[in-house]
């Protein structure tokens, strides 16, 4: 896809993709997806995003095609005008596409500055009811950071908590911000956390909280986690106060396995863990929504300063794509692509600038394809 085609696409407003969509999407039912054979292609929504987004999106498509992954991509772009049906730059069609396909991959999106619209991430989260953000953090062999034995997964409640956005000024100079914790949201994310631990062979789930101070809110969160823990007796469950957790993470991250947390703590801890393994440029992430919707995304920024220069590192988006494949139970190909990425980075011959090398995006992508 050339940049010109992308621009044309945006101007037209996704009409061309929709015509293709109606042809593709009719062929696949959700039942077929659960037990897909390698011959029935799955349609997945793809938001390449802004800045370096399109380049790394190309990388992903190339690697997936070389690996023979049976996915047909439906590209959607952020519009230039606010869609009144969604109150944001994301069109209704884009959101419908994700709801229909139930799986998607998202590159970095730069939220335009201004008022009168919701942020893009917030729109996606609210409209698709993405309640859990899952980030696996593991040390990449061959890429040395100060921490070599990190292997944990952070699962963060994504809809409520401190980020409910409910603030008001009581009187001049006094502001209140409301943190909300509900039983249903806490149960939902706890269920997902234990389910994830079980299906991925993890042994321990730690709930992170500050219930010694925020006794009712974090106390409710903990109660819900305990209830779910009882249903999974084979998984060890523990509770760790967040300041203790921060300290233990920087001293000895190998102590943790799966972490489940409310919104704010999750935000901080997942970024802290990303820092342990090398930064946001290497971190995959997946948002889980109701009805089995999964939207994998690269959490780094759109890096407008290196956009279009073939310098970007596609690792985060590729690893997120792998997470998406695992969600679709295409485990063989997920493993294949994952090993190829790890081996390429471990070898050290082809690394992009942010990892200390000098390869271009295309070289790096080619090296991964060669490793498949």
């Amino acid at each position: 896809m050339t940049m010109a085609a992308n621009f044309a696409r945006r101007l037209i407003g996704n009409r061309s993709t929709q015509i293709l969509d109606t042809v593709n999407s009719g062929a696949v039912t959700s039942a077929a997806r659960a037990f897909c054979s390698s011959t029935t292609p799955i349609t997945a929504t793809f938001f390449p995003g802004d800045g370096i987004g399109p380049e790394i999106a190309e990388s992903v498509k190339q690697v997936f095609t070389t690996a023979g992954v049976p996915i047909v991509w439906e590209d959607h772009y952020v519009g230039t005008e606010i869609d009144p049906r969604t109150q944001s730059f994301l069109t209704w069609e884009s959101l419908e596409s994700v709801r229909r396909n139930k799986v998607g991959l998202k590159g970095p999106m730069a939220t335009p500055i201004g008022k009168g619209h919701r942020s893009l991430n917030l729109t996606l989260r609210k409209e698709l009811n993405l309640y859990a953000n899952v980030r696996p953090c593991y040390s990449l062999p061959g890429y040395k950071t100060r921490y070599d034995d990190v292997n944990l997964v952070t699962i963060r409640e994504n809809t409520e908590g401190e980020y409910s956005g409910l603030e008001h000024q009581v009187v001049r100079g006094v502001v209140e911000s409301i943190k909300i914790i509900t039983r249903s949201a806490s149960l939902r994310v706890a269920e997902y956390a234990f389910h994830y631990a079980k299906t991925h062979g993890r042994e321990r789930v730690s709930a992170i909280h500050k219930a010694n101070i925020m006794q009712m809110t974090d106390g409710l969160f903990l109660k819900c986690c305990r209830e779910v823990a009882e249903k999974y007796p084979e998984i060890t469950y523990e509770e760790v106060v967040i300041d203790n957790c921060c300290m233990m993470l920087v001293k000895n991250p190998a102590l943790f396995d799966v972490l489940v947390m409310p919104n704010l703590y999750g935000d901080i801890i997942s970024d802290l863990c990303a820092g342990l393994v090398g930064g946001l440029g290497l971190t995959p992430s997946c948002n889980i929504g109701e009805d089995g919707v999964a939207l994998a995304e690269a959490v780094h920024g759109s890096a407008p300063d290196i956009a279009g220069k073939n310098l970007a590192n596609p690792t985060a988006l590729l690893l997120s794509g792998v997470m998406m494949l695992r969600h679709l139970k295409l485990n063989d190909q997920a493993e294949q692509i994952h090993s190829a990425i790890i081996n390429t980075i471990a070898e050290g011959k082809y690394r992009t600038a942010d990892l200390g090398g000098s390869s271009t995006t295309t070289d790096f992508t080619k090296a991964i394809c060669d490793h498949l």
Binding site: R172, G173, I178, K179, I181, K210, T217, V250, L272
Partner: protein, 367 residues
């Protein structure tokens, strides 16, 4: 002859290690009567608290410091602070404290927080720095985290709206934000620090953290020689883990301060060695810097190998606060010598000494 030679050799051996850490000779002019012993309220607390406060008492005695302690028995599961405690602190103005263990979700509000609110100790200070002789994954760490101590997320205002839905209020006021910002910049100015960083999440909590930032920005204008910048809390944690040397003084609201202080303490050597305290307009309470469950593990208490270094360094800060700088320097130098020698270390630093052994080593190293 041989005996003299041996003692000469012993002395030579001593001086080579001593000369690495020079003692400063401070010439200061006390007022007549400054040497009168000062009373300090002492709260041994729970868990490892009694162990480490006893360590401080022993070292103070060995130094003949002009300080005597008035101990009070307080435990984390008490419903409220005991009667005479607040009067004692208000009279003495200075308190040394071990940790108080707050029961989790137990319906008892934290006594640590209560004490800070009653005495209006609005600033909590933790100094996280690399100790020579204690290698960690990060070098050149010297961060002071100044944390607002009375409001924010710790306002304790929670209620159940309907069954299954709970609300907690985070309160930020201009008054508190301003005074903590003023304290942070004043601290930086008085201690020759070059940069103050405000930590926030104002992209999400626009009004609350926005108000905090506004106050910091206003105060920053009055100190043009001190650099000021702002950083979002999740990015801050990531930067702390990647490049901690970029931070100098950090000023934060209540909850973020807790997390940042513990993270910074962890990267610089652990909560066992970081000094800190809480200070208000009239009173000061010194305790272990970062308080990650600051009552330690049960095993530490049982085996008596809790690390007294943090509280010893905090008591050195206390001695300076009481205007006994020379005693403070002697104490700090002795502690630093013990750490750099590396022979006497408790379990959290990778050794296997007991608390008492470390205390004895510190006393032996006093000038």
């Amino acid at each position: 002859m041989s005996r003299q030679a041996i003692s000469l050799l012993k002395n030579l051996g001593k001086t080579t290690t001593v000369s690495k850490i020079q003692t400063r000779s401070v010439t200061y002019m006390p007022r007549p009567g400054d040497g009168k012993p000062r009373p300090v309220t002492l709260i041994p607390g729970d868990g490892i608290g009694p162990l480490v406060t006893k360590a401080v008492e022993q070292v103070m005695e060995a130094m003949h410091a002009p300080v005597y302690f008035e101990p009070f028995d307080v435990h984390g599961d008490m419903k409220s602070l005991p009667e005479g405690l607040l009067e004692s602190i208000k009279k003495n103005k200075v308190c040394l404290k071990g940790g108080l263990k707050t029961p989790v979700g137990g319906g008892v509000s934290s006594l640590n927080v209560n004490l800070r609110k009653e005495l209006d100790l609005f600033a909590s200070l933790v100094n996280c720095f690399n100790l020579p002789g204690l290698p960690t994954r990060h070098e050149n760490v010297d961060i002071v985290v100044i944390r607002e101590n009375t409001e924010g997320e710790y306002a304790g205002l929670e209620h159940e709206v309907v069954p299954g839905v709970v609300e907690s209020l985070k309160v930020i006021t201009k008054f508190c934000s301003e005074r903590i910002a003023k304290y942070a910049f004043e601290y930086a100015y008085l201690n020759n620090r070059k940069k103050v960083t405000a930590v926030h999440k104002a992209n999400i909590m626009k009004l609350a953290d926005g108000l905090f930032l506004e106050s910091c920005q206003e105060v920053a204008k009055k100190y043009p020689s001190i650099a000021y910048n702002e950083i979002i809390v999740d990015n801050c944690c990531m930067q702390l883990v990647a490049r901690p040397e970029q931070f100098d003084v950090m000023v934060t609201p209540n909850l973020y301060g807790n997390l940042i202080a513990n993270t910074a303490a962890g990267i610089a050597g652990g909560t066992g060695v970081m000094p800190g305290g809480n200070v208000g307009a009239e009173y000061a309470v010194f305790e272990q810097g970062a308080s990650a469950g600051n009552v330690g593990k049960d095993t530490d208490e049982a085996q008596k190998n809790a690390n007294p270094v943090a509280l010893l360094l905090s008591s050195a800060m206390m001695l300076r606060h009481l205007q006994f700088p020379s005693f403070a320097d002697r104490l700090e130098t002795a502690v630093k010598r013990v750490i750099s020698e590396g022979k006497c270390r408790t379990e959290d630093l990778g050794g296997n000494s007991t608390t008492q052994e470390v205390v004895d080593a510190v006393i032996a190293n006093l000038d």
